[in-house]
């Protein structure tokens, strides 16, 4: 008995020793890190600047930048279309530390609506970066009119199509097992496409994201975290479920599908909102049409697991809103304060949630025949059809 405290003290000592030594080592590295003379070669400072956002004002531009390099960086001059131009900068000494943000403001530049501009930024050491404006259009400010525009946009591409898809629910009880399996498989196909599409969109944003954020790892990491998180949540919930003939399980699956789709729609909203904000109206309109058609299938995906049970109308509406409403949040965020960082995080979450749903459905009873087999023609055709539908409607985007 008396040995116990001694033993535990020893354990603590051995446990903490490596951490203490590591701490000393880190201190030494930080201390010596500035001693460039210790390096075997003379190294010039590494300068990297990330262009975060360009706001287009009636007679000028505002460029939000971030120092994405390890060393301090000072902006010397700014040019527009290869002409040096008067600008002011926040902070006033034009010097940014590692990951520090700055705002470059150009006033009195009379840009032409609809034309393209390249804003050149040159550092003290002559390194250059370009901030591209593909189509110059004044950036909308958050007015009530604009807010309504983005809300209605979100309703059109997210809420209405999902609700229309939900209307297929009353048809489902009339269908035989085989057709229900086909529809479940169709849902899986739709979701696989959506998941891959979400990841693709996410990876596109990682390219624009500052290198320091490790966008690709962030995207996959967030996705994996959500996937595992939802699985844990589902297992934790299982204990509380009463044996009610699978109704709770069906609801839970529906709920997860709705949540995954909701996160995906948030991402879609971001893309549409930012397309409009960046002046790409034709792109924006095409996206709206594409997503609207695309998203009607999402409603179907949500109600297929509920085919066999009776669910109240309020629950159905709730599921629809869970999947549809985030679109509005997405268009608003995309429209007014778009950030690549949040886009990558949202897309990562959405991909994780969607693949989690695919996992649940494929583990659950809805794709199985009475003897538990899954390798059925209707499943194959369903998955194929789901991917094909998404592919074809995707051609419109």
């Amino acid at each position: 008995m008396s040995d116990e405290p001694k033993k535990s003290a020893k354990a603590w000592l051995y446990g903490l020793l490596p951490i203490a030594v590591l701490g000393i080592l880190c201190c030494a590295i930080v201390k010596l890190g500035d001693r460039k003379d210790l390096l075997p070669t003379k190294v010039p400072p590494i300068e990297e600047l990330s262009i975060q956002r360009i706001i287009i004002k009636p007679h000028g531009f505002q460029i939000e930048v971030m120092n994405d390099g390890p060393d301090e960086l000072t902006i010397a001059q700014v040019s527009i279309e290869e002409a040096y131009w008067r600008f002011t900068m926040e902070p006033a000494d034009k010097t940014l530390g590692h990951l520090e943000h700055g705002v470059i403001t150009i006033v009195n530049y009379h840009w032409v609506e609809g034309e393209a501009y390249a804003i050149g930024i040159i550092s003290r050491n002559g390194i250059t970066w370009d901030a591209e404006i593909p189509i110059a259009l004044e950036t909308p400010v958050a007015s009530s009119k604009n807010t309504w525009f983005f809300i209605i946009l979100g309703v059109i591409i997210g809420v209405i199509p999902v609700a229309l898809g939900l209307l297929w629910l009353p048809v489902l009880p009339y269908l035989s097992d085989k057709y229900l399996r086909f529809l479940s498989a169709l849902t899986v196909g739709l979701l696989i496409f959506l998941g891959l599409d979400t990841m693709k969109e996410g990876f596109e944003f990682t390219e624009e994201l500052a290198g320091s954020y490790n966008g690709e790892i962030l995207l996959l990491g967030v996705g994996l975290l959500v996937f595992i998180g939802l699985m844990t949540l589902k297992n934790a919930g299982k204990a509380m479920v009463l044996d009610d003939g699978g109704r709770s399980l069906a609801l839970r699956v529906s709920c997860l599908i709705a949540l995954g789709i909701g996160l995906h729609n948030l991402g879609e909203g971001l893309v549409v909102g930012s397309a409009f904000i960046h002046g790409d109206v034709s792109m924006g309109t095409r996206l709206v049409l594409g997503f609207t058609l695309h998203n009607i299938t999402e409603g179907l995906a949500i109600v297929v697991p509920l085919a066999a049970c009776t669910v109240g109308i309020s629950r159905i509406i709730g599921l629809g809103l869970l999947a549809g409403l985030p679109t509005i949040a997405g268009t608003l965020i995309g429209g007014f304060s778009f950030s690549q960082l949040w886009a990558v995080i949202f897309f990562g979450m959405a991909a994780g949630a969607i693949f989690q749903v695919v996992w649940i459905i494929s583990k659950g009873p809805s794709l199985r025949s009475r003897d538990g087999g899954m390798a059925l023609p209707e499943n194959f055709i369903g998955i194929f059809a789901g991917i094909a539908i998404m592919f074809v409607t995707g051609l419109l985007i």
Binding site: T74, Q77, E82, A83, Y84, W85, Y109, I122, G126, T128
Partner: protein
């Protein structure tokens, strides 16, 4: 000058001296009178590393020539541009037709360099062959007769040539005709550019290196006085550069090798190494712009003003 266009701020490092350079002529140290008005002029030149401020807050790691002890026409020692420790463009060498020129060149930079002069000289003095490259801490003595009279230039002819010239190793070499030229307000303008990110394209254009310097500090000239510009193009990467003067015309004598002007115009265009003597008078006071008539170069720093008083 409060314009929205052009670089902002002012150069504060003192690494370049465009105002001094504009009217700086290094006549060398006269060591012998050769009779008939001819002199032996001796120079000591160095090639050094120098970080120069080519636009406010923008620095370029140049290779620069420097003259150890610049002298004026009367033999007095004068300060050189850049505090005599390297300037881009290099010091303007000035002499008379028939003078004997001797230049002791000491390379203090860790790359091999030469001084290749335009003008008559023997093959051994060309500074272009491999065995004529001057390595770090080595010395080479250039000696030749100053001819023909005119406006010439000198530059490094070490390889890679493009890099050695664009890094800043060039300058003006003026040989006056025996009979001299009409007294005038004389200005040296070397049209140059800097590729700061080394992508083979210039980020900055200027006369005498500093972007928009004469927008901030217009060149003061007197009404009706004769103004003579020694205009040289050393711009790397771009096939041509040009000079355009507002609200006035000038006489152009290409390469300055004859006393008679060939053109009366307001815009001239040179390839790299081409040069002309321009002469003009301003009949009215006020601000008169001059710039490259390639708008791109003008907007990237090659633009200034004359202020006629």
């Amino acid at each position: 000058m409060d314009s929205d266009m052009g670089v902002i701020g002012d150069c504060t490092s003192g690494t370049l001296d465009p105002d001094l350079f504009l009217t700086h002529f290094d006549w060398g140290k006269v060591t012998k009178d050769l009779g008939d008005g001819k002199k032996r002029r001796e120079y000591t030149f160095f090639a050094v590393d120098k970080e120069i401020e080519i636009a406010p807050g923008l620095f370029f790691p140049s290779w620069a020539y420097t003259s150890e002890t610049p002298h004026d026409q009367d033999g007095n020692q004068i300060p050189g541009p850049g505090g005599s420790i390297g300037h881009v463009p290099g010091p303007t060498i000035r002499c008379r037709e028939g003078d004997e020129i001797y230049i002791k060149f000491i390379n203090q930079n860790n790359h091999p360099h030469t001084i290749h002069f335009h003008g008559y000289h023997s093959s051994e003095m060309d500074g272009s062959m491999k065995d004529q490259f001057v390595f770090q801490n080595e010395t080479f003595e250039y000696e030749f007769m100053a001819e023909p009279f005119g406006l010439h230039l000198y530059h490094c002819h070490s390889v890679p040539l493009k890099r050695h010239i664009h890094k800043g190793l060039y300058g003006t070499y003026i040989i006056d005709p025996k009979e001299g030229r009409e007294p005038a307000r004389e200005l040296v303008m070397v049209m140059n550019g800097f590729d700061t990110n080394f992508d083979g394209d210039n980020e900055i254009y200027a006369v005498n290196s500093v972007a928009n310097h004469h927008m901030r500090y217009p060149i003061k000239v007197k009404k009706d006085e004769l103004v003579r510009i020694y205009l040289v193009n050393t711009t790397e990467f771009d096939p041509i550069n040009s000079f355009h003067l507002h609200a006035n015309f000038f006489y152009e004598n290409r390469t300055g090798t004859s006393m008679k002007a060939e053109y009366f115009t307001d815009t001239v265009m040179f390839c790299q190494g081409e040069r002309s003597i321009l002469e003009m008078r301003f009949p009215k006071t006020g601000l008169y712009m001059f710039h490259a008539h390639q708008s791109e170069f003008a907007e990237l720093g090659w633009m200034g003003n004359f202020e006629v008083v």
